[in-house]
Symmetry: C2
Subunit: 695 residues, 2 copies
């Protein structure tokens, strides 16, 4: 494109500049941003981020300026280059896993080593024997074997037992034959498989002497280590473009009776005995159950920060963008109003801002609970092995783990739904410019969306929560309940079934939390009545179960947010006025949720119609007004580096329009092209300076 003329370079945005508007915003609030950031991340993590982002910024391959313009193949190529560089930086700087992950997060795109770094290494480490570690893990850690985790198939996702790939034990030569009997048996969606991996952990149905033993993991080489071409009888490739995640080579994989040796089956928990040809179970992989709980807890915590990126961008832009005069404004204030001043914008953004903190504290508390419980169980096990005094602790630990597992299912579904849908709300709150890739929200949203489907589909998961709540309710009714939070709210509800309740939801924060607990308990016993008394079909109750799971998760989030603000640890870290604003965010989140789910709260008897109506017309509107002046400082406390956000609209300095213009006119490769616009000409591009502008 022709160079930008001087008269264009001299132009500035009209009116008060974005930088001035954001400075005014920041002056209006007394939130101590740094201390709040420390509460969210700890100073250590903040320092680590800063250090690592500086390393990345200095490497040309991580330059983001063409990310939004590039097509699929270019993006994948760049992502591969970045993955390699990142690995080499890790070695060079001796980064630990946390530092490596911090770097990946800052790059903010899924990379071709993604599944190697995580599921491939973890599965071999956790489910392999020492012999298998020696054979596979060492080379995998050296990136000589590059792997993926091949579970999902073209025809089966959620239903793992329905997988069609087979691994048949061959008595004669002591091998397994890996085979794809149908097209639907093709592995599908497997990250890092499409182009990058030369190895895969393949989940396949184990058959011994004609009998099925269910899905088991096999380590299988799929590409030549030198030529990187697929091995014989292996058909593998990339599954094509997706709504997002296009820097990742999700792949397909078919086997035509491929023989693999005995060592291929990961054998820590079950194996085929070489001498007897019998299936042997070596213990229960309950570890995996714990790992899943841990993974889901991290999704909950991440959901807060994923959403916070969108809220940061939208809040800053809505403070810079001005549109229309306030209808009731006095003539002495003739300027246009900041969009963030409109209550219709506030009601969309500020509850999401509250949700970022709510989800963060909830995820953090779950992860703490999980870690403490693991410690306790390990200690119990140690005692058990030593003096025989541990079993109760193990029992109590596994009751808590069961509770945590069910809770984590519901919260994973709820939090990732809030984050995904919330990002789209943020995008639209940016008006037309939200649709531009330069907003930074759309691409981020598109990459995040699969989280609502993987690690348990958000709708499917709600059945697990409901099953657990029904089981807990039955145990409470039969007085055989273990002691945990779930049974405690169910017992409380039951004990008051004759006298009902009265929650001062607008006057008391602890009553507000209790009202959420009450509604969960009410819906649980309703569902139990449908299933056990009325004998309704499971399928007819799925909608009820979905609502029940959502109600329970909302209770958990409200409770955890509340408790985080009550805790001495929190109070020691932040000052009173920040705590006051956070408490308002808690109320906004809880009351806005309560109002949206008004029918259920009312039906449960937890609140009156009058309270719901007052919550909406008075309390929530008042909270919006009170939180409004702190909005920019609150998003500042999430401490996203501009380089990480990569958003014109979300810039910390408010130079929104300058940045939009710069990207469009200076970075946009389409502007190196001149078209022939006339229908009677077959020429399309009469001038194409793309190559020249690259030089």
């Amino acid at each position: 494109m022709a160079p930008t003329p001087d008269w264009v370079k001299q132009l500035t945005p009209s009116g008060p500049q974005g930088s001035e508007l954001l400075a005014t915003e920041r002056a209006k609030s007394d939130i101590t941003v740094e201390r709040l950031s420390q509460l969210l991340y700890t100073q250590e993590v903040l320092d680590r981020k800063k250090k690592i982002i500086n390393v990345l910024k200095s490497e040309k391959v991580f330059d983001k300026s063409q990310n939004y313009f590039s097509g699929r193949i270019d993006r994948f190529e760049t992502a591969l280059a970045r993955a390699k560089k990142l690995r080499n930086l890790r070695v060079k700087h001796e980064w630990n896993l946390d530092e490596y992950r911090t770097a990946s997060e800052a790059i903010s795109e899924p990379g071709p080593y993604g599944l190697h770094d995580s599921m491939f290494l973890i599965t071999i480490a956790e489910q392999g024997t020492p012999e298998q570690h020696a054979q596979f893990l060492v080379k995998a850690e050296e990136y000589k074997f590059i792997g993926c985790y091949a579970q999902t198939e073209l025809g089966h996702g959620s239903n793992v037992r329905g997988l069609e790939t087979t691994a048949t034990w061959n008595l004669e030569d002591k091998t397994f034959i890996i085979h794809s009997p149908y097209l639907t048996a093709s592995k599908w969606w497997i990250g890092s498989l499409g182009k990058t991996a030369n190895y895969a952990v393949v989940m396949a149905q184990l058959f011994i002497a004609g009998k099925s033993y269910g899905p088991h993991p096999f380590v299988v080489q799929i590409r030549d280590l030198k030529t990187h071409e697929p091995l014989e009888n292996v058909h593998v490739g990339d599954i094509g473009p997706k709504f997002g995640y296009n820097t990742m080579d999700n792949g397909f994989l078919l086997f035509n009776k491929v023989k693999v040796p005995h060592i291929s089956m990961l054998a820590r928990f079950s194996r085929v005995d070489l001498d007897t040809n019998q299936y042997v179970r070596e213990g229960s992989p309950s570890l995996v159950y714990g790992t899943l709980t841990w993974v889901r807890s991290t999704i909950v915590m991440q959901a807060g920060s994923v959403l916070a990126r969108g809220v940061t961008i939208a809040t800053r832009y809505c403070a810079v963008r001005r549109q229309f005069q306030d209808r009731d404004a006095p003539a002495s204030e003739p300027g246009e109003n900041q969009v963030l001043n409109y209550t219709m914008v506030q009601i969309r953004l500020l509850p999401l801002l509250a949700a970022t903190f709510a989800l963060h504290f909830t995820g953090k508390s779950m992860m703490n609970l999980y870690s403490e419980n693991q410690k306790k169980m390990n200690a119990g096990e140690a005692k058990d092995n030593g003096r025989g005094a541990g079993p109760e602790e193990i029992q109590s630990g596994s009751d808590i783990l069961a509770d945590l597992h069910a809770t984590s299912c519901g919260l994973k579904a709820y939090s990732s739904t809030i984050a995904a849908e919330g990002l789209e709300v943020c995008r639209r709150a940016c008006g037309g410019h939200g649709y531009s890739s330069f907003s930074g929200i759309g691409p981020w949203y598109a990459d995040y969306l699969p989280t609502t489907t993987w690690e348990g589909d958000n709708y499917m998961l709600t059945q697990q929560v409901a099953r657990y709540l029904l089981k807990s309710a039955r145990s409470v009714l039969s007085s055989s309940a273990p002691s945990n939070d779930t049974t405690s709210i169910l017992s409380t509800f039951l004990s008051r079934s004759e006298i009902g309740c009265a929650f001062d939801v607008l006057g008391s924060d602890s009553d507000l939390v209790d009202a959420f607990a009450w509604r969960t308990a009410f819906l649980t016993f309703e569902a139990l009545k449908h299933r056990d008394e009325q004998k309704k079909a499971w399928n007819d109750l799925l909608v009820d179960f979905y609502r029940l799971s959502k109600a329970h998760s909302q209770y958990m989030v409200v409770r955890n947010f509340y408790e985080a603000l009550q805790s001495g640890e929190t109070r020691a870290q932040i000052d009173d006025s920040t705590l006051d604003v956070l408490t308002k965010l808690f109320r906004l989140f809880a009351l806005n949720t309560l109002e949206q789910e008004g029918s259920e709260f009312y039906a449960s008897g937890a609140v009156t119609v009058k309270q719901i109506s007052l919550a909406r017309t008075n309390t929530v509107m008042k909270l919006l007004e009170e939180i409004r002046p702190h909005a920019v400082r609150l998003v500042d406390s999430w401490a996203f580096d501009d380089w990480v956000l990569d958003s014109s609209l979300g810039r910390q300095d408010g130079k929104v329009y300058e940045d939009m213009f710069y990207r469009a006119s200076e970075l946009n490769p389409l502007n190196s092209i001149t078209v022939d616009p006339y229908p009677d000409s077959e020429v399309l591009f009469k001038k194409d300076d793309r190559r020249r502008s690259k030089l």
Copy 2:
């Protein structure tokens, strides 16, 4: 990529084939698909579509197979080639505007002539004088001038009065000086401007002798007609990639004191007098007000068919996809369950299926009402000019137009929100595969999204509806109300304020409609109380106004759907069992909406809590079960050609997995590449056969 091996070619999906499953679905229902299609489209339109799609399929440039794979520049290049070919086909086949639009719809992507074909031509035709038509319109219709409509700026979208581009009348040489005083004055988002247009209708603030007369349209040349390079002191280009709509060259445009002649200002309604240098208004552009109403009505009707594409894809795929056994299924039925059998899937998809028809009939009825009213007003005008007996008719016509205008604002917002959000629900209902571009939903959704922002932002528009409803309520209270549907429901509500109401929403369809009317009236008078009695600030009521507008629009959709099914015209066209299923869809749409908005209905006194609870647990669940067997035939009646849908999951023949696999392994250009996966190698692509595979 290496050719697909024979052993892969021989594979088929497991279990009952998709084609068998869809055949079974179709055999289960007695819906007469062809007659229902005729009701939706008319046979004439169906024939036209078929004819035109056949023409398009025979032209290589319209081949869609690389659409999902191509990057932005390739997509734009192809879109330009298609736009040219389409124009030439139109000339060759002498297509009228309807036929041309049918072709554009079938291609299903925005094209670089999009704004030329619509806003550029229309604005000059409607707002130009005969002299201007001669100067601009003739060449525009010949595609020698290719134009766009440049209104929105970097800093101003919704607030047209805030536009910053100026057009200053120069007394001395009788010219206008078009100028962009700020960076934020840059035109932005302008379709067809980025690369294609050589002309633009520019909305600019008219200044005469230092006085501002507000925004006016100017026809301005921006690029050289031969070289297609920007003219001097014009800075123009493409604004960069977007969430969707990437086949369109949305552009930016800045002027540095560019002189244009007097004829440039479109002068049908206002002009600068050459002799006196005075601003002259030639009459009111009330026409434009009508046109906007018309445009919004078409958006409502389109929303039905836009959503129907997603519902078609998801419904067919959920009938083909099987996952898990039913938990309560007898051991004699060991197979996996069709996903469409799960109530949690039904509750997401079937109300949207109902919405497709509801929106279609609503849009159609609005367009009919608009046309009839225009005819009546024209007749009244004719009478007025002749015998002086017309004014009442004109008055009544303009009362109806005002009502229709307000209604169209609310319905545009409501229907495009349902369609956009509904498409995302459809995409997720397809599970993991919904995320693949081959689902066809994601790209379609991404291209549709701007509809929620343009032609009036969906949130902004609700204020216009509320303003109109408040005005109507005031006129009803002061007994000065014109007679139209809105004042009628308000009067009914008022007349019963002492005795309340009792609607048999579960037993009577007309009561169900009346309950929606009641809630609208209730919310209107509540809002009026807040504004007029309690003197609340306008800004504090925006959330209430949004809810009010939504409630009113829901009433309109429910009423129009109901009336369409009652009408003799409808009943003459379809048989009883199809009418019966449509009536169930009406109930599902209305009751599901009522249940979701339960708090408002209850607060208005229109229904009891018991009714809301029964609606959910009984009626809606029963309706899902009753509609389920007809789902596939119902979506078949929307009659989308497979070529138009371009979706693996939505194929009419159910060959879902074969098509997914074919596209991934045969069409995917990334599979022509072999990477070097090792971090210690700087080579990224060790083999790149893309060019070879193109030959």
